[in-house]
């Protein structure tokens, strides 16, 4: 007989792994990726492949030569970071800028803290915000959506719906176009429909819970709704706010990043409301047309505090008689 293993219970495991969780996220990103490839064509392909490859490569190199730890790229988290970073970039961004973004995302956002699990901020958003501040012109010229567009850096550009709103321009896309993603914007954020499909898959797989996305979307809907009811001339309808900019992408895929979001349902509500409020404040009163990335990063900073002070409902919390 073989030697017997003696270990404490439990003796069974769900079989879940970091890799499986990350693969679920990747599968959930497929619909939005297909929409990006359809409307932004070659550019979307080049930007996404560059981003994913450089994220994986940077993680491998940093792990091997600087941290000198075990190989971690097999957990697929670098692929998720790379794809999410690409989703947050315009599809006509030059390759070298994409590579800088990937280096900041992985190098500064993730590995400088010790790798997956230790980073306080969402790595993809660290990369994106770094690029937004460093390369404001390239980061805010979005290509016009043209099916199977063969153009890359020379693609014809247009303003996003949010910029149009901010500058009181007239050419706001129709509700249907916004829903399916036929509008200018970062490559992965345009299609509300595709992102919602991904959300449904993540809920089905129980990779994430509904608490964070729904709280964010609800908060944004209510707040922008109030402004819209007060002054519909100045403020856009809450539905436009839900379907434009990075809100859907942010609420479903970025704010729910395991590592940087709170651990309890109550904490998730606080975090979601915080992101919603900050997003609306930046969108309506800030100088940027878009505020989701900043809102998520700001609330990432509050996550440890939320985890310390907001506890789950305990079993038997009632006072003893």
């Amino acid at each position: 007989m073989n030697k017997l293993v003696v270990s404490p219970s439990p003796h069974v495991h769900s079989g879940n792994s970091i890799q499986k969780e990350m693969k679920s996220v990747l599968i959930a990103l497929i619909p939005a990726y297909l929409v990006a490839l359809y409307y932004f064509g070659v550019g979307a392909l080049i930007v996404s492949v560059t981003s994913v490859l450089s994220c994986v490569l940077f993680e491998y190199l940093i792990q091997k030569f600087i941290l000198k730890g075990e190989k971690t790229i097999t957990d697929c988290s670098a692929i998720v970071t790379g794809l999410l970073l690409a989703f947050n970039l315009p599809s006509n961004l030059p390759i070298w800028i994409v590579i800088i973004g990937a280096l900041v995302a992985i190098g500064v956002g993730k590995m400088s803290f010790g790798g997956l699990g230790n980073n306080p901020f969402n790595p993809a958003l660290v990369g994106r915000v770094f690029l937004l501040i460093s390369f404001p012109v390239q980061m805010t010229s979005w290509p016009r959506p043209i099916p199977f567009n063969p153009a890359y850096m020379d693609a014809e550009t247009s303003a996003t719906a949010l910029t149009a709103l901010k500058e009181h321009l007239e050419n706001i896309p129709s509700a249907l176009d916004m829903f399916i993603g036929n509008m200018g914007g970062s490559m992965g954020e345009v299609s509300t429909l595709a992102l919602l499909l991904g959300f449904a898959y993540l809920l089905y797989r129980r990779t994430i819970s509904w608490h964070i996305p729904i709280t964010i979307l609800f908060t944004v809907f209510v707040m922008t709704g109030i402004f819209y009811l007060v002054d519909p001339q100045t403020y856009a309808s809450p539905l436009v706010h839900l379907m434009t900019g990075g809100l859907m992408l942010g609420a479903i895929f970025m704010a729910t990043d395991f590592v940087t979001s709170p651990m309890t349902k109550r904490g998730m509500f606080v975090y979601g409301i915080g992101i919603g409020v900050i997003t609306v404040v930046i969108r309506l009163f800030g100088s940027y047309p878009e505020g989701v990335s900043f809102a998520i990063l700001i609330m990432n900073a509050f996550t440890p505090l939320i985890n310390t002070y907001i506890k789950p409902k305990r079993f038997g919390e009632v006072r003893k008689k």
Binding site: P10, H11, V12, H13, L116, F258, S261, K311, P312, F315
Partner: protein, 445 residues
């Protein structure tokens, strides 16, 4: 369908031995009867080397209140009283008896006739249960008479019978409910009389519809017993979770079931109560499940307490080739055994063979703060935090975060995508905080 409110998991059920009729395992050459059950003090030996004993004869007398009598499960000759390894990994005193024949005490009623009426008073019933050495057969093996003795100032309102059997693989309680439905119901009425309540709730997980039907059928023959199907969810059979599922009441943190007027007994314990009170038969045998993915014929067997597991295994088809781990009990809370020379204790519900491919644990990785452990904790705790603070020995923080509420069900370790040994560390933390609390009490005195 009723269930507990927070957390919980649904592992693969693997109830391979469901519906397999109980078979009696022949007597071994020697039994090793432990004098200590997991909870409480070891009992004091009543026999000496060379004594001849009969089946049912008292061989260990309870030492103090939280301790239980022990009876010989065989007839024969006491060869020694010595320490023996138990399933928990401790050496405890045990009585070694060479089996000679199968000679029962004359006082024990061995007729198959079911005796329905019981004329004893409450205190007499509890005394009889204590004499018969009955302990909780669900796993914790807490002396039953202690649980039935309602402390002054408290009042029992409802008896809860645990037929959930939420552990994967186990079917011993299921089979008992199918074969001994009438006896279990009579046992319930005896327990109701003992704690003076008019109502009893039997909770059974919905994956045992035949057991639910059978117990319901017999429940109709008596007053006040209601059978309630429960959602199949682990740990449905945990005492606090079961009370919440059946009555909606939450046992307060640090409290006991009696704080919400409930007393919980397992179905197998209830059957033992019937045999003790109606048949004068002490607790000397129980049903155990022998099972596993590679076990050719998983089954349920009547085994005398003290039978070496090696004998049980030999009589039930031997050890499967690919075995990597042998567990006494279920896969969620059972104990991995170092060998099969350990004997069946009153609380041993199963022998589970786990193939070597599933015996190891996955590589431990960083906590990715996915919050699955928090969401699945049935006690509303934060296992990731408790593990971290246990690693760092931060006992005050552990206590503030209610580490003592942990029921060690293992749901957190089960769901963790990073294979972190959450419940291992939490057990350590509980041990340390428990010492701290006791030393504080000593200082106060």
């Amino acid at each position: 369908m009723k269930t507990f409110k927070m957390g919980g998991i649904h592992p693969e059920e693997c109830k391979f031995s469901a519906g397999k009729k109980t078979e009696v395992i022949s007597l071994p050459k020697q039994v090793v009867i432990p004098l200590r059950h997991y909870s409480g003090k070891p009992s004091i030996p009543e026999v000496a080397k060379g004594d001849m004993v009969k089946v049912g004869q008292l061989i260990g007398r309870a030492d103090g209140f939280v301790s239980a009598n022990v009876h010989s499960s065989v007839s024969g000759k006491v060869v020694k009283i010595d320490n023996a390894l138990d399933a928990f990994g401790y050496k405890n005193p045990a009585v070694f008896i060479d089996v000679i024949g199968d000679d029962w005490l004359e006082t024990i009623d061995l007729t198959p006739k079911v005796k329905r009426t019981c004329d004893l008073e409450s205190s007499e019933i509890i005394k009889k249960i204590a004499e018969s050495g009955i302990v909780g057969l669900g796993g914790a093996t807490f002396p039953t008479h202690v649980k039935l003795s309602v402390p002054a100032g408290k009042k029992a309102e409802v008896l809860i019978i645990n037929g959930a059997e939420c552990e994967p693989y186990l079917t011993c309680d299921h089979q008992l409910m199918l074969e001994k439905g009438e006896e279990i119901i009579i046992g319930i009425t005896i327990l109701m009389k003992a704690i003076q309540v008019k109502r009893a709730l039997v909770g059974i997980e919905a994956n045992k519809p035949d057991a639910i039907l059978n117990i319901e059928k017999w429940a109709k023959t008596v007053e006040g017993v209601e059978v309630i199907p429960l959602k199949v969810k682990y740990p449905q059979g945990s005492e606090k979770q079961l009370i919440q599922a059946l009555t909606g009441r939450e046992v307060p943190s640090g409290g006991l079931p009696i704080d919400v007027g409930a007393i919980v007994q397992n179905v197998a314990t209830t059957f033992a109560v019937y045999e003790a009170v109606q048949k004068n038969k002490p607790l000397i045998e129980r049903v155990i499940t022998v099972t596993g993915k590679s076990v050719p014929e998983p089954g349920n067997y009547w085994v005398r307490v003290g039978t070496p597991l090696s004998h049980v295994v030999e009589k039930t088809g031997g050890i499967p080739e690919d075995t990597g781990k042998i567990v006494a009990g279920g896969p969620m809370m059972g104990r991995a055994l170092p060998n099969l020379e350990i004997s069946v204790a009153k609380g041993t519900a199963a022998v589970l063979f786990i193939p070597s491919s599933e015996s190891g644990r996955g590589k431990v990785q960083n906590c990715i703060r996915c919050a699955k452990c928090v969401f699945h904790c049935p006690m509303g705790l934060e296992p990731y935090l408790l593990m971290n603070r246990s690693e760092k020995n931060l006992l005050d923080e552990l206590e503030q975060n209610r580490v003592m509420d942990c029921i060690e069900c293992g749901s957190c370790s089960y769901v963790c995508p990073s294979n972190r040994p959450l419940v291992d560390y939490i057990r350590y933390g509980k041990l340390k905080v428990g010492e701290l609390i006791r030393s504080r009490k000593v200082q106060q005195l």
